[in-house]
């Protein structure tokens, strides 16, 4: 083995130009594979986070006639206990309402939140354009579009009409921007208790919203299934974001597959490239292999000479490839920018993927060396000696 490694190293170092060319070939292939993989996974991450990052990923709703969930405190505790992958569990009271300002009426969705819990899902504090979260029962948050449409400003007082004729007034404590026009226009956020009082519904909510850990966002359906036993009431139902976003998911899936296809073919072309160069190298070195065999090197060791060459090339190519790939990724985020200066796509560099790409370079190069190595093992020294 050691002699094979030494000879492999010498074969590579004695033909530096060729060695550098192959290593560069591997490096470029691997850098493209790494870059495309990172780009697509970054793209998907930002898409996912835009879609579900600040939204409920699993929701408990009721299918009963009044759509109300009784005894929700028990569900809150049970959910957190049974499923550690939940990062937020938040009870919500949703009811329609109407806001009338200067004879212009807008229909709204009154949402009663326990802000401490809802904050973990919606991150309102970061989404506030101005003001603060509501304190007490007479303050409310409204969206930026609703504020614009009704010409409302911070600390203005507005009257809300619910259930046809119940009116209540709220002071605007803050204005949020959740970056979805429909939400910014209709959501009217008050404290959960204030909502329960407003709608005269004690100790009930209309839904329980939950969010899961970002890393297991795609397992929301499985996590939802694991929560099934805590429901107890047949009218209650769990819905998850994957059911609600089937078309997005199939789009992402298609994207993942095409990204994998590109990566696969890039790696295949790298493998074929190395295999053909090493195959030629076996021919170039057949005289040397013949001499070594005449001097008593075993066929297995003459095989290792080429496997080691593949391994060494893969190692050098892998390191260079990762460096190029990171360089590509960096320049992409620096040069490909939107008018507002933010990157077109936030690249996501996953250390595991980086290691995987490197391993791919080493493994594929070694695999590519298998055929040439077999040739070298089978080479009969007499052919070389006789055809002097």
């Amino acid at each position: 083995m050691r002699v094979a490694f030494k000879i492999a190293l010498r074969f590579l170092s004695s033909n530096k130009a060729q060695t550098i060319m192959i290593a560069l070939g591997i490096a470029i292939g691997i850098s493209v594979q790494f870059f495309i993989g990172s780009l697509i996974s970054g793209l998907q991450r930002s898409l996912i986070s835009v879609t579900i990052g600040n939204a409920a990923q699993i929701t408990i709703v009721s299918n009963s006639d009044d759509r109300l969930i009784n005894n929700y405190e028990r569900l809150l505790n049970a959910a957190s206990q049974i499923e550690p992958r939940l990062t937020a569990v938040s009870p919500v009271m949703d009811q329609p309402g109407l806001v009338i300002v200067d004879e212009r009426s807008n229909s709204i969705l009154v949402r009663g939140f326990d802000f401490n819990r809802a904050e973990k899902i919606y991150e309102f504090r970061e989404r506030l354009v101005e003001g603060v979260l509501p304190k007490g029962s007479s303050q409310a948050l409204i969206g930026i579009d609703l504020a614009e449409e009704l010409n409302l400003e911070l600390n203005d007082t507005i009257e809300v009409t619910v259930l046809g004729d119940i009116k209540d007034t709220f002071r605007i404590s803050g204005i949020f921007d959740l970056e979805v026009q429909n939400i910014n226009k209709t959501w009217f956020l008050i404290d959960l208790r204030a909502a329960q009082d407003l709608f005269m519904l004690e100790n009930v909510v209309t839904s329980i919203e939950m969010q899961v850990d970002q890393d297991v966002a795609f397992e929301a359906d499985i996590i939802a299934d694991s929560l099934q036993p805590i429901l107890l009431d047949p009218d209650l139902e769990l819905v998850n974001w994957k059911e609600q976003n089937a078309s997005l998911l199939s789009g992402l899936n298609g994207q993942s597959i095409s990204s994998l296809m590109i990566q696969f073919f890039v790696v295949i072309s790298v493998v074929l490239g190395i295999a053909s160069v090493l195959a030629i190298s076996v021919l170039q070195k057949s005289k040397q292999i013949g001499i070594l065999k005449a001097m008593g090197i075993k066929s297995s060791h003459s095989r290792y000479i080429f496997l080691f060459q593949g391994l060494i090339l893969g190692f050098i190519g892998g390191i260079l490839g990762i460096a190029f790939g990171l360089g590509l990724a960096y320049s992409f985020t620096v040069f490909a920018r939107q008018p507002d200066g933010s990157p077109v796509v936030e690249l996501f560099i996953d250390p595991d993927f980086l290691i995987l790409s490197f391993a791919l370079a080493v493994v594929s190069s070694t695999v590519a060396a298998l055929i040439p190595a077999g040739k070298s093992a089978r080479l009969d020294p007499i052919e070389v000696i006789r055809n002097a």
Binding site: M295, I297, S299, R386
Partner: protein
């Protein structure tokens, strides 16, 4: 004086005696009814029932026209080629039942090759080439072995070009490197195929002198294949091959 670490010999003078004791007969190579047929579009028989023995520490030559089968004979004796029928024993060991790896080990430890076209590894220096058979066996070279290689190279007059790449030497220097390489494992047998074939006559004479000297000092059995009668006449035993058969055998030492 060179010291050897394999069991063939401890000192030069004791070498032949010790080996004689070690084996039932005194033959280092023994061929029995060796035939070689090449199967192609036409069947060509190159060797016909050759019976041939070589005694330990002797200095032999095999001569013959090109196409006579002498190179095939050497390749078979060197275990690089297998006979179509018949058997060979090297150093008392039958080779016909050995697999490729066993033959590789046998070649590595027992046979030193000197080819007409030198066959050095161009990627390695002269010294590294000389040490290559040892490296193949042991995987690394300790300093003791390195100094033995340097001694051998001094002996064949290569002190000045020791660290040259194989390609950066004259033909004679390359051939002397090949000789030093053939000797590094202190093999029982040195097989030389036209070792002076493409060298000028002065260099050829020099190479011959070196081999003769080594045979005397280290006691390795030399079998030199040549078409150069001038060289052959200086050996102790001449075997002439003609059309795949032994045509003439001349043992001058008796």
């Amino acid at each position: 004086m060179l010291k050897f670490n394999n069991n063939v010999a401890t000192t030069n003078t004791k070498l032949s005696e010790k080996n004689i004791e070690g084996y039932s007969n005194n033959d280092v190579i023994s061929l029995q009814k060796v035939s070689k047929v090449y199967k192609g579009s036409v069947m060509t028989q190159v060797l016909f029932d050759i019976d041939l023995n070589f005694k330990r520490s002797t200095f032999n030559s095999i001569i013959g026209q090109s196409g006579s089968g002498k190179s095939t004979l050497m390749n078979i004796m060197g275990t690089l080629d297998r006979p179509t029928s018949g058997s060979i024993a090297i150093n008392g060991q039958r080779t016909d039942h050995m697999n490729a790896n066993q033959l590789a080990v046998l070649r590595n430890e027992t046979i030193g090759f000197i080819f007409q076209f030198h066959y050095l590894l161009p990627e390695f220096t002269a010294l590294e080439n000389v040490l290559m058979p040892y490296l193949i066996k042991h995987g690394s070279v300790e300093s003791k072995m390195r100094s033995k290689a340097i001694e051998l190279m001094d002996m064949v007059g290569l002190s000045s070009v020791r660290n040259n790449l194989a390609t950066r030497m004259s033909g004679g220097q390359q051939q002397r490197t090949a000789i030093a390489r053939a000797l590094i494992m202190n093999p029982a047998i040195v097989l030389a195929d036209e070792p002076t074939g493409n060298l000028d006559s002065e260099t050829a004479e020099n190479i011959y002198m070196i081999m003769r000297d080594i045979n005397k000092r280290l006691g390795n059995t030399f079998i030199i294949i040549t078409h150069d009668r001038h060289i052959a006449e200086k050996t102790d035993r001449i075997i002439e091959i003609r059309d795949g058969r032994i045509n003439l055998e001349l043992d001058r030492k008796g």
